[in-house]
Amino acid sequence: MHPPDTFGYLLLGYGAMFGLIFLYVLSWQLRRRNLEKDLEMLESLEEEEGRKT
């Protein structure tokens, strides 16, 4: 008896799983970039406040 041809599903499964992991890690990069921008802006704001007082 030959096993059924399910290789396409196997590729779909692994593709989807690694794709999800990749997208999740990519979302970190976006979050990190936004946080670094916020930090930069907040630090310059604090510096400005310090100069005023």
């Binding site: 008896m1 096993p3 059924p4 041809d5 399910t6 290789f7 599903y9 196997l10 779909l12 499964g13 692994y14 989807a16 799983m17 999800l20 992991i21 999740y24 890690v25 970190w28 979050r31 990190r32 946080l35 670094e36 916020d38 930090l39 907040l42 630090e43 704001l45 604090e46 406040e49």
Partner: protein, 233 residues
Amino acid sequence: MSLSNRTLQILNVLTVLLLVVNTALIFLYAPLERTMGEVQRIFYFHVGVAWVGMAAFVVTLVAGVLYLRTGNLRWDRLGAASVEIGLLFTFLTIVSGSVWARPAWNTWWTWDPRLTTYTIMALIYIAYLMLRQGIDDPNRRARFAAVYGIVGFISVPITFFAIRIWRTIHPAVIGTGSETAQGGFDMTQPMVVVLLFSVATLSVLYVCLMANRLQLAKLAERVEQLKARILSA
């Protein structure tokens, strides 16, 4: 889990290498299963991500208890990061299971007790993240999240034992010889080796993702503290 940049880089590289070796073992070493064909190879990844996903929620439970005992926000960061990564593993389990189910059960999805409890568990932990978003005060947020993480954990053992408690079409992997295990199958020695290697690799992946996620959480906390300082000045 605070690691230096160098250690983190080594961990990242090690994780990628382990994933490559694991994939090679699954595709080239694990024997072909005769009834299901190639798609059965999804099983090694599916079982691994399911176990590690549930372990991630155990970490949140422990972190919640430790936060309530010590009041240290470090435990809150750990618990929150573990929920996020646990949810990633939960989605990976659902996706891989769904793709496997299509040729095996002739459907992408069915409201079987295991799949239903699994969905409820995922929704409970999605709500955990939503709850955190809704509270600004860090200490209040940490306290609520810790209690929620402890109470929400009830869904994890219910999901794990669903295949023993209710009549289900989902196969049991552990203790297939027992009367309560339905739809189980016997694994050959190479299958067991690949499964154990997968579980170990995915555990390392979890640790790696946690270490990176905690670094991001620290940065977010710095921004939050600075914002609060400027607003109060």
